[in-house]
């Protein structure tokens, strides 16, 4: 009666889905996912990429919630509320696989050898599927599951040995990447426990070659934490509430903000942080010796731009998107193919019209003189001189974005995330009422 799905279901219909951004590992293209749509820009040819998809169904019918490239960059995956996982070949930008899962997908990742795509669903399960195209039909295999929690992020460590999953119940779990993924990942290696609210995202800091990478995680408790993921030891807590830039942001009442996004620069030294309802980006520096995170810089975008997703590219440029699309809930009752097609078309339409802001933050090379100490310094690119120029903006932003509109959309997206992540709080009265209508309780009352 009080199943997990049901308790989340209510109110989901009026949700906004935040825009997502991802950059090809070699920096050759940028992808924005908004609503059910993918917008891809090729930076080498300086033109929009048109995808081809002959799988069934050929388009996402509801909001995309997760996108990812594999390390080599030859694959890309998109997945979301329509329970579809799509695997793309990035050379031709054609969809090579579409599978349907029983539940909405929240996160995707690839194994380090690129042989497997992994995805997590709203029931706390992680599945995998081989990336190789085969004759026979693909069945996803379950790798692991968090008992009755939503998995919020899924990553594979750089040496490929562990799967890191974070959930709504404050937990980060580290599982051993199995020799045969089709047989599941039954060995839990560690837990990173310490967050005092839902965990939203995870990433890795430190140099990849050193083999000494550490985990960073963001949470509804507005901290970014640093972990030794092999032992589960918490090494440092960075509380974003302590930053002036965050406190001074006047755009909203100053309730604690959840950390909603993390991206780490390719050398593993800079952590870019997005906060809920915050019109900027925080840059933290990872101190490899001290095993700490230090505030480096806060970059405020503009009053109306509330970023929803961010990604460093190979050249340490930080791509940021702000935007959201109405997420149209199809529901499970949808039966006829016509209905499905109509709903899908509507979702695609909404996605096309949705506006987003795309911004670029670049590293400014070497300050001179006494400032040499503060060499690492980032600046917001002028829109006019941005990489990709006008063509990129018109592809990714979807027409000229009206900033007010985007702000409203982003705000709505944040709220939707809140709703999703925070457990429903009932007042005492409500709880009593709910109890009263429970069948087993009725039984007891009658008897007394």
């Amino acid at each position: 009666m009080e199943d997990h799905g049901a308790s989340l279901g209510a109110g989901v219909g009026d949700m906004m889905a935040p825009a997502l951004i991802s950059v090809h590992p070699d920096g050759s293209c940028v992808v924005v996912a908004i609503g059910a749509g993918l917008r891809i820009f090729d930076l080498l040819r300086n033109e929009q990429v048109v995808v081809s998809d002959e799988t069934v169904p050929a388009r996402h019918g509801e909001a995309i919630r997760a996108i990812s490239f594999n390390d080599k960059g030859n694959f890309f995956s998109s997945a979301g509320d329509d329970k579809l996982v799509k695997l793309w070949n990035t050379e031709s930008w054609s969809c090579i696989k579409t599978i349907r899962l029983p539940k909405k997908v929240t996160s995707v990742a690839f194994s380090k050898d690129s042989k497997w795509v992994l995805f997590a669903d709203k029931f706390g399960a992680v599945y995998t599927l081989p990336t190789a195209v085969k004759e026979e039909k693909d069945e996803p295999a379950q790798l692991l599951a968090h008992c009755c929690s939503i998995i919020t992020d899924l990553e594979v460590t750089s040496e490929g040995k562990y799967i890191v999953t974070s959930d709504r119940d404050f937990k980060i779990r580290v599982s051993v990447f199995p020799a045969d993924p089709l047989k599941g990942a039954p060995e839990i290696w560690s837990y990173c426990l310490g967050h005092t609210s839902f965990v939203t995202c995870t990433a890795f800091v430190g140099s990849q070659t050193s083999g000494q990478q550490l985990l960073v995680s963001g949470s509804g408790d507005s901290t970014v934490r640093l972990w030794d993921y092999k032992t589960g030891k918490m090494l440092h807590v960075f509380d974003t509430n302590e930053l002036e830039a965050v406190r001074d942001d006047k755009t909203v009442d100053c309730a604690a903000r959840a950390v909603i996004g993390l991206s780490v620069s390719p050398d593993g030294s800079i952590v870019a942080v997005l906060l809920e309802r915050f019109t900027g980006v925080l840059l933290l520096e990872y101190d490899d010796l001290g095993k700490r995170l230090k505030h480096l810089q806060s970059i405020i975008l503009s009053e109306h731009v509330v970023p929803t997703s961010l990604a460093f590219d190979v050249a340490s440029r930080l791509w940021i998107v702000a935007g959201a699309a109405e997420s149209i809930e199809l529901g499970d009752q949808l039966v006829t193919p016509e209905e499905a097609a109509a709903a899908e078309a509507r979702a695609q339409m909404t996605a096309k019209m949705a506006v987003a802001h795309v911004r670029l933050i670049v590293r400014c090379s070497g300050a001179v003189g006494q400032d040499a100490e503060k060499a690492a310094h980032y600046e917001l690119s002028e829109k006019e001189s941005m990489l990709g120029g006008e063509a990129l903006l018109s592809t990714l932003e979807g027409g000229r974005a009206d900033s007010g509109e985007v702000a409203v959309a982003a705000e709505a997206a944040e709220q939707a995330m809140r709703k999703l992540m925070s457990k429903r709080q009932y007042t005492l009265q409500e709880r009593e009422n709910r109890k009263r209508f429970r069948n087993d309780k009725k039984f007891e009352r009658n008897e007394v």
């Binding site: 008992c147 009755c148 937990k171 020799a179 837990y191 032992t231 589960g232 030891k233």
Partner: protein, 332 residues
């Protein structure tokens, strides 16, 4: 529902001391007294004889003695998958075991520093090289004793009471989802401690959802034994994911168990017995314990005799199905 309810409404089993002991007046009984009065009628009909034995207590005034189960009558089931509303420690370092086992923490330094979790984790990580279970040095165990046995879904605590005297040096905890039942067990243990000074100091009970929060209480490799006695069967297929043994949950149990640790399961529901066995068989981190070893194991006979549920099954000469497995190292 109905049959489950009845199950728990039987007054607490005979053998638990007719003696009336000195115990602190119980807040809980007071709160529940109204309900108890209502129950009294039914109780009397069912077990007339016992009523007289207990009536002095029920009549209030200075209430002394072991807690009676009927005061703690609770809903037959809680859905283990729904969100809970009780405090849960963030991680094992935040568990205050001192409160549960004051006698064991008397000589302990008291200050459990924050990094200790990680040290245990490190130990756990190295354990493969040490060839098997982490055997904490008796010294370390004395300084900072750790819970080594867990009775998951302990119900009214019969197993803990029996295990307590068998393994007086091991700390053990019962984990129970239903609030009133866990309160009952706490009271029961308290009363036993008062009656037998120096004994029953090594057992305690926690209200928690073991399906969700075990890693919040125990570190990697901490537990030497885990017990699952007569767990709720959740017959319907769509409720199978509420079962306390599953591939998903076994991964968690394997994580908190020491290599070489033993997991004990027993049920009177054949289908559930099959389910638990096949899940354990399918999990690469567990192997069945041989019959020979089982014969030597002092815990085995308690499985069917120590708990309230077990006794009930025995009274009805019901058949039981057990599956007992060892946590083994990963083959990979």
């Amino acid at each position: 529902m109905q049959h489950r309810r009845k199950k728990y409404s039987t007054v607490f089993h005979e053998e638990t001391e007719k003696d009336v002991l000195f115990a602190r007046a119980r807040k809980i009984s007071a709160q529940l007294s109204q309900k108890a009065m209502a129950d009294q009628g039914n109780g009397a009909r069912e077990k007339g004889k016992k009523r007289t034995e207990h009536s002095t207590i029920a009549q209030g005034g200075d209430q002394k003695g072991l807690p009676r189960k009927r005061f703690y009558r609770a809903r037959a089931h809680s859905n283990p998958l729904s969100d809970s509303h009780f405090p849960v420690p963030n991680n094992p370092c935040e568990c205050d075991w001192k409160e549960h086992f004051p006698a064991f923490f008397k000589d302990a330094t008291g200050e459990v520093e924050n990094g200790s979790c990680a040290t245990e984790n490190m130990k756990a990580e190295n354990r493969s090289s040490e060839n098997g279970a982490i055997v904490p040095s008796s010294q370390a165990e004395k300084l900072e004793p750790k819970v080594r046995f867990a009775d998951v879904g302990c119900g009214f605590g019969g197993l803990l009471v029996k295990l307590s005297v068998l393994f007086p040096d091991k700390l053990m905890v019962g984990m129970e989802l239903r609030d009133k039942v866990s309160e009952y067990v706490k009271e029961r243990i308290h009363a036993l401690r008062v009656k037998h000074p120096g004994q029953y100091e090594n057992i305690s009970c926690l209200r928690t959802n073991a399906m969700k929060y075990l890693p919040n209480y125990f570190e990697k490799g901490q537990l030497e034994k885990m017990f699952f006695l007569f767990p709720d069967p959740h017959f319907k297929e769509k409720n199978h994911r509420r079962r306390i043994i599953s591939q998903t949950l076994l991964a968690e149990y394997a994580y908190i168990m020491a290599i070489g640790g033993i997991i004990y399961t027993i049920t009177d529901v054949e289908e559930l017995g099959e389910w638990m066995k096949s899940n354990l068989d399918a999990h690469p981190l567990f192997e069945p314990v041989s019959e020979d070893e089982l014969d030597q194991d002092r815990c085995v006979e308690l499985l069917s005799s120590a708990t309230e549920e077990g006794q009930k099954v025995a009274r009805n000469s019901g058949e039981t199905f057990r599956a007992i497995y060892r946590r083994i190292e990963s083959g990979a």
